[in-house]
């Protein structure tokens, strides 16, 4: 039905649209957190940023077993540590839940469409008590 | 005995689709109820920190126990070589799988975190009978499917006996596992007994046979297939023997408890002081689920009537549910004996103050989920007998009786 030229044109348009869409998404390789969180002032995360981006779920999953079953709390991989660093404070100085819309976690997770299970149980703000 | 043909269930299309629509609706409502419970949390149910297993578990355990027993009809044919039961075997296998699936569905959907089912299938604590049950239940379905294959594929018929024996043994282990869910618990006086495993096995025979008879009678009548007295009377007599066995286990269970002084309060609770639980025992389990069906089955006149037999089967199932209620809810409601020789006069966690049993009232979502499981089981059975050749074309006396119709005359 479509001639060769038309097919190539359509393929090119489709590819271009996908690239444009990807480029417009919130998280890209150069994305940095904005706001008044501790993390915004730091060079990198507890591990090099590309590594932690790719592996944070595996690191957390391993660490949860180590903490719960072996009682080890002195670790850079603790979830509480992530929250401590990445939580933003609102103008009144109160911490904003780290998983709410536009905040640190969902800025990637919404784009990647991966549901967060952590905060059904874990606190979204450092409670300090 | 003539060779028996099998054919798909032939009721009219509108009736079939109507039945499917009804069952699907009940199953769908059950699913919605499960979604509601999972979304809001279990506070919407009647279950509490004192009575942690409720109506869904009553239905789930009932269906799982019945599933194991439903296969018994096939086992009597394959394992014990009774020719009359051979044509009854395919339906028996189908019912076993369908009932188990329905029961498992209810059990899984009631979990606090059903989204973690994959965790349940990948993290195993092999000291837990629950973990073994996961393997036993799923394995059972696979074994029965293979068993059905050997029965229904002519070239595989030679294997139906060894596979049947394997399925029979698997079934006994499975029901032992189900009874042991309760039998292994030291914490509560109602459980903590080696008797519960064989008791559950006998109960499985009772529930499974009763459901089988009802499904067989309905399917044949709806489709106008002849169902002779030889088959029906054999099955009803079998049911009668199993009911007697179940009553025997009940007797031994309570008499043994009567000898154990520390269990006296519990026996009094079940037999006299438990209010609704006492009613569930005497009225539900003993009368409706045991003695009345037994009388009907062995009565010289009533035991010959199809309606009365069907009625007895239905009563058995009602009594069975009452017994499940007694075992599961009653066992939890009875105050735990934390301080023998003392009375708890105050507690911050409902520890049976002054001997008061824990309160539980079934909620609508729980009931809908339980019924949904029943509907799923019946739905699978309906589709099965319609799509494949599970039902014998005729079970008239001349066809079904291994003695060529002479047994009926002897009655």
């Amino acid at each position: 039905m479509f001639g060769m030229v038309t097919r190539r044109l359509l393929a090119g348009l489709l590819a271009g649209a996908l690239v444009a869409l990807a480029g417009n998404a919130g998280a890209g390789a150069d994305w940095k957190q904005t706001g008044n969180a501790k993390a915004t002032k730091l060079e990198q995360c507890v591990r090099p940023t590309p590594e932690i981006r790719r592996n944070h779920m595996a690191l957390l999953k391993h660490q949860r077993d180590v903490t719960v079953h072996e009682g080890v709390r002195k670790t850079p991989d603790a979830l509480a540590g992530c929250i401590d660093c990445h939580v933003n404070k609102d103008p009144q100085g109160k911490p904003v839940p780290v998983d709410s819309q536009g905040q640190f976690c969902s800025s990637c997770h919404a784009f990647a469409a991966v549901q967060l299970d952590c905060f059904q149980c874990h606190s979204t703000v450092p409670t300090g008590r | 005995m003539k060779k028996i043909q099998f054919s798909e269930w032939g009721i009219s299309s509108p009736r079939y689709w109507g039945l499917l629509a009804f069952l699907a609706a009940v199953a769908g409502i059950g699913g919605l109820a499960a979604l509601y419970m999972e979304h809001h949390g279990h506070w919407v149910t009647g279950m509490t920190n004192q009575v942690v297993w409720g109506t869904p578990h009553i239905f789930a355990v009932f269906l799982i126990v019945a599933a194991s027993g439903a296969l018994n009809v096939a086992s009597v044919g394959s394992v014990f070589g009774k020719k009359l039961y051979k044509p009854l075997a395919p339906l028996s296998g189908l019912l076993a799988v369908a009932l188990l699936l329905g029961g498992l569905m209810v059990l899984v959907l009631d979990l606090g975190r059903p989204d973690r089912l994959i965790v349940a299938m990948t993290y195993y604590n092999f000291k837990s009978i629950f973990a073994w049950n996961i393997i036993l239940y799923t394995g059972f379905m696979a074994v029965v499917l293979v068993y059905l294959f050997t029965m229904m594929e002519r070239k595989m018929n030679a294997y139906s006996k060894p596979v049947g024996v394997f399925a029979f043994v698997w079934r006994l282990i499975l029901t032992t596992g189900t009874g042991s869910i309760f039998g292994f618990l030291v914490a509560r006086e109602a459980y903590n007994s080696a008797l519960l495993a064989p008791m559950f096995i006998v109960m499985s025979f009772v529930f499974g046979t009763a459901i089988y008879i009802l499904v067989l009678m309905y399917a044949f009548r709806a489709d106008g297939r002849p169902l002779g007295d030889v088959v029906v009377f054999r099955l009803k007599n079998l049911l009668g023997v199993f009911i007697a066995g179940m009553l025997y286990f009940t007797l031994v269970y309570h008499i043994t408890n009567l000898y154990i002084t520390e269990n006296h309060e519990f026996v009094a609770f079940v037999l006299r002081d438990g209010g609704i639980f006492t009613a569930a025992f005497w009225l539900g389990h003993m009368l409706v689920g045991g003695l009345i069906p037994l009388v009907i089955i062995y009565h010289p006149v009533l035991g010959q009537s199809r309606q009365w037999i069907a009625g007895a089967c239905a009563l058995v199932l009602v009594g069975g549910l009452a017994n499940m209620y007694l075992i599961i809810i009653g066992g939890q409601a009875f105050p735990m004996s934390l301080f023998p020789g003392m009375t708890i006069i105050e507690s911050g966690f409902y520890d049976g103050v002054n001997g008061l049993p824990a309160a539980y009232s079934p909620s609508i979502p729980e009931l809908l989920l339980g019924l949904g499981g029943v509907a799923v089981a019946l739905l699978l059975t309906t589709v099965g007998i319609r799509m494949l050749r599970f039902l014998p074309a005729s079970l008239a006396d001349e066809v079904a009786d291994p003695h060529g119709g002479k047994t009926a005359a002897a009655h």
């Binding site: 709390r73 149980c121 | 920190n49 297993w53 604590n125 004996s337 003392m342 708890i344 409902y350």
Partner: protein, 256 residues
């Protein structure tokens, strides 16, 4: 009057000795403080077994200090009744890790009050029955739930001979960083494991009971003969609740 010039050498010696002592002692003091507050870096071992002795003769009638302290420490006081739920039913569904119980002897009429919580058995039935292994006994004797793999089947609640566990029936809106808890899982007293893992050695209930002046709860390392709980157990008669089950609980009671 002494007009002798002061001996600079002696002063110098005393000064140096004092300085040396301070240098020797100070790091010890600092290290001790640091060890108290430091998060654990090495896995727990069974060299320690945490346990408790509860002196029911000191447990005050009507006092709820331990219960309130536990609620506050673990975020249980943040639980809110879901909208539309009946208050009576909510009381039966809300999580409780420690409760006060009052018992009366059937023969003598003697009344005893005591707090009851997870008994941290050596052979916990709840661990045996958990299908996923979420309910487990840690090397240092704490029996707890790994809520990452708990599927919420409540079998452990059926199995517990002390009815110590609670199921979380509702979505948890507010929780503490050091005490995560969420809908659909099971929980119970964990001997304030978040404190122990960060170097502290007391539980919230023990501190509250001591603060209120009763000091009925003594917690510590059962394997350390010098610990307060070991010394108290050596001194006082004690027994387990439901000793015939032979679960070798970590919580013992005096005066029961």
């Amino acid at each position: 009057m002494n007009t002798e010039p002061t001996d600079a050498g002696r002063r110098e010696f005393i000064g140096k000795a004092a300085a040396a002592t301070a240098v020797a002692v100070a790091p010890g003091v600092l290290l001790h403080a640091a060890a108290e507050a430091a998060p654990r870096g090495e896995p727990v071992t069974s060299k320690v077994r945490w346990g408790m002795l509860i002196d029911t003769t000191k447990c005050a009638d009507g006092c709820r200090a331990c219960v309130d302290a536990c609620d506050k420490e673990n975020g249980l006081d943040l639980q809110t009744r879901p909208e539309g739920e009946d208050a009576g039913k909510w009381n039966q569904q809300r999580a409780i890790w420690i409760r006060k119980v009052k018992v009366r002897d059937n023969l003598t009429g003697r009344v005893t009050g005591l707090p009851v919580m997870c008994q941290h058995c050596e052979f916990p039935p709840c661990v045996d029955v958990c299908p996923t292994g979420a309910s487990f006994r840690r090397a240092d004797g704490i029996v707890m739930v790994d809520r990452h793999i708990c599927i919420g089947c409540r079998y452990c609640m059926m199995a517990c001979p002390y009815k110590a566990r609670s199921f979380i029936h509702e979505a948890v809106e507010e929780k503490l960083t050091h005490a995560p808890r969420g809908k659909g899982c099971v929980e119970s007293c964990n001997f304030c494991v978040h404190r122990l893992d960060n170097g502290r050695t007391t539980t919230a209930c023990q501190d509250a009971c001591a603060k209120d002046g009763h000091a009925a709860i003594v917690f510590g390392d059962l394997r350390d003969p010098g610990s307060p709980v070991a010394k108290a157990l050596a001194q006082h008669q004690s027994n387990q609740i439901r000793p015939e089950l032979k679960l070798n609980t970590g919580v013992r009671y005096h005066g029961l």
